[in-house]
């Protein structure tokens, strides 16, 4: 941990300054997390009258539960699709914005505002557009001979939540790509141009490799986003359905815990998720250390 030379001396002040943050952290973060870990080794009887220690039983049941394994698969498909779609579109837009000289600030303004839209609201907007009876998109698809129904078809439901989540995330990725592109020295592109590389070749051989740290960083951030923050998108649209087709891991924790009241299983799922966030955070921080050298 970096330190500085000049500091103040006080025996009690730093603790007082830290107290509010640590109090909130302990009461609302660490204690509940600890409870989740504890709960994951216990099982309540159906009437909630007694609990007993069951060891790793909640975990082994989880791993044998086809519903849970399905949720893993759903999460994977969902995360990868959202990340790929939003990163791809953002890169295309950022490269275009980097190329135009006139109006590039206005374009930025017009592209970044969806960041401010709540995931739940984004979900409702797309849900409305895809409404099988009155939505505009099913109407157009019908013209193409496709019968859209996200309430019955698993694939349609997945496409809906992917689009809603990616729509919101493009703005974020766009900003980071644009910042990354603008950090590439103009002289480098000029040198490549003098070396005979055209715009496409320059992008493939010079620009994209230099953006790879940004891309990797965004990949991690986007996966984290789709794994946790898209809870609201799912809840406001498909509710995990139809037939568990969009029941991602965080949503299942909530469903099993709040609606199914299966506390032991929900707690075990929480613990698994904490492990995943830790891994993602670790990757992100390792990466930031590396990024310093670029």
């Amino acid at each position: 941990m970096q330190s500085r030379r000049a500091t103040f001396r006080s025996r009690w002040l730093p603790y007082v300054l830290l107290a509010p943050q640590l109090l909130v952290t302990f009461v609302f973060f660490l204690w509940p997390a600890g409870q989740a870990v504890r709960q994951s080794f216990l099982r309540e009887d159906p009437f909630g009258l007694s609990t007993r220690f069951v060891g790793l039983d909640n975990y082994t049941r989880l791993l044998q539960d086809p519903g849970y394994l399905n949720s893993f698969q759903v999460t994977l498909v969902f995360s990868v699709s959202v990340a790929a779609l939003s990163i791809g579109l953002a890169l295309l837009l950022a490269v275009s914005a980097d190329r135009v000289i006139r109006g590039h600030r206005s374009y930025t303004t017009l592209l970044v505002w969806p960041y401010a839209v709540a995931p739940a609201v984004a979900g409702v907007l797309w849900w409305f557009m895809f409404n099988p009876t009155i939505g505009i998109l099913p109407y157009l698809l019908d013209g193409l001979g496709y019968d859209w129904n996200d309430r019955l078809k698993a694939g349609d439901a997945m496409i809906l939540v992917v689009l809603a989540s990616a729509w919101k995330q493009v703005s974020y990725n766009f900003l980071f790509f644009l910042a990354g592109l603008q950090a590439i020295p103009q002289s480098l592109r000029e040198a490549a141009a003098i070396d005979g590389a055209g715009p496409v070749k320059r992008f493939v051989t010079i620009v994209f490799p230099l953006l790879s740290p940004t891309t990797f960083f965004l990949l991690v951030v986007n996966v984290t986003y789709t794994m946790f923050e898209t809870f609201a998108v799912i809840d406001a649209t498909t509710g995990g359905g139809p037939a568990q087709a969009t029941n991602i891991l965080v949503y299942k924790v909530y469903q099993d815990g709040f609606i199914g009241l299966n506390l032991g299983s929900s707690a075990a799922q929480s613990v698994v998720l904490m492990g995943i966030v830790m891994a993602l955070t670790f990757i992100q921080f390792r990466f930031i250390e590396r990024r310093v050298q670029y």
Partner: protein, 282 residues
């Protein structure tokens, strides 16, 4: 742009214009829907052009709300959202700047432990520990209260790290000059550190206000009292009408107004927003 290629530039403009339209389209549809009477939505297809029924829709929403779908008046929900967003943003900024000040400007036992405890919160998003956190809030009697809405969310590792990062760039000699000028730690904090942190606080405020305004799952589970509904979760309540199609004009009016404040904040403070977003990840 290295060489003059009008075709490529035109292509870039075309991509951007398409992007802008695609991004705006869902919101345009929402706005349009909010300006038509609910009967329009029985006929089969949503209109693409605004109607003339917006006064009635918004009037109804701001006036009495829709009791049938359990939504209180919009003004109340937006007020709740504002209280929640401001409490979370200001609360996070306040406790984070104090913790960062302690960690950077003092040497004390357990300093590293405190740093790591704060760091751990990064790995525990509320969605992951939702059930036990709900139980803690319930046990503390904080359900259906503003405190219950905001306090559990105000611990912030990212804000603490941002301030810490900024504090580390403050030259040692500035601190020493202040000590010689007779400024103790609190005076230094108030007279020098706070004014120097203004831009960082503003940038962080933009991000955190959006974060707070857009909270969904947390208000959904800690409030059952309609008077405490926030606008983002209120939409969910309106959509969840049993066995019936939602009243789309009201839902979309609410959605439009739920988007408005955070979008305005981003557009109005674009520079601060970009700074806050990009520096948060450093």
């Amino acid at each position: 742009m290295v060489e003059h290629r009008p075709v490529l530039t035109a292509l870039a403009h075309a991509v951007l214009i398409l992007g802008v339209l695609a991004v705006a389209f869902p919101v345009w549809l929402a706005f349009v829907a909010s300006t038509h009477p609910s009967t329009t939505f029985l006929s089969g297809l949503v209109p693409l052009w605004p109607g003339d029924h917006w006064r009635e829709t918004y009037g109804q929403m701001f006036g009495t709300g829709i009791s049938t779908s359990g939504a209180p008046p919009l003004g109340l929900m937006m007020g709740n959202s504002l209280i929640m967003a401001l409490s979370i943003a200001l609360g996070k900024i306040a406790i984070s700047i104090l913790s960062a000040f302690a960690i950077v400007f003092f040497r004390f036992p357990f300093r590293h432990l405190a740093f790591w405890l704060i760091f751990v919160t990064l790995m525990l998003p509320v969605e992951v520990r939702i059930v036990p956190t709900f139980k803690v809030v319930a046990d503390l009697g904080m359900l259906n209260s503003y405190a219950g809405l905001a306090v559990p969310l105000i611990a912030s590792a990212t804000a603490t790290f941002l301030f810490r990062q900024f504090f580390l760039t403050i030259p040692d000699e500035l601190v020493e000059a202040a000590r010689i000028d007779g400024a103790g730690p609190l005076k230094f904090f108030r007279d020098i550190l706070l004014p120097l942190s203004r831009t960082n606080m503003a940038a962080l405020f933009v991000i955190l206000f959006i974060y707070g305004w857009n909270q969904y799952i947390w208000p959904l589970i800690v409030t059952t009292d309609e008077r405490l509904y926030t606008v983002v979760m209120g939409i969910k309540r309106m959509v969840d009408v049993a066995d019936a199609e939602p009243q789309w004009n009201y839902v979309m009016a609410t959605a439009t107004l739920a988007m408005l404040p955070p979008v305005l904040v981003v557009v109005a403070m674009q520079r601060l927003f970009v700074k806050g977003l990009i520096e948060q990840e450093k």
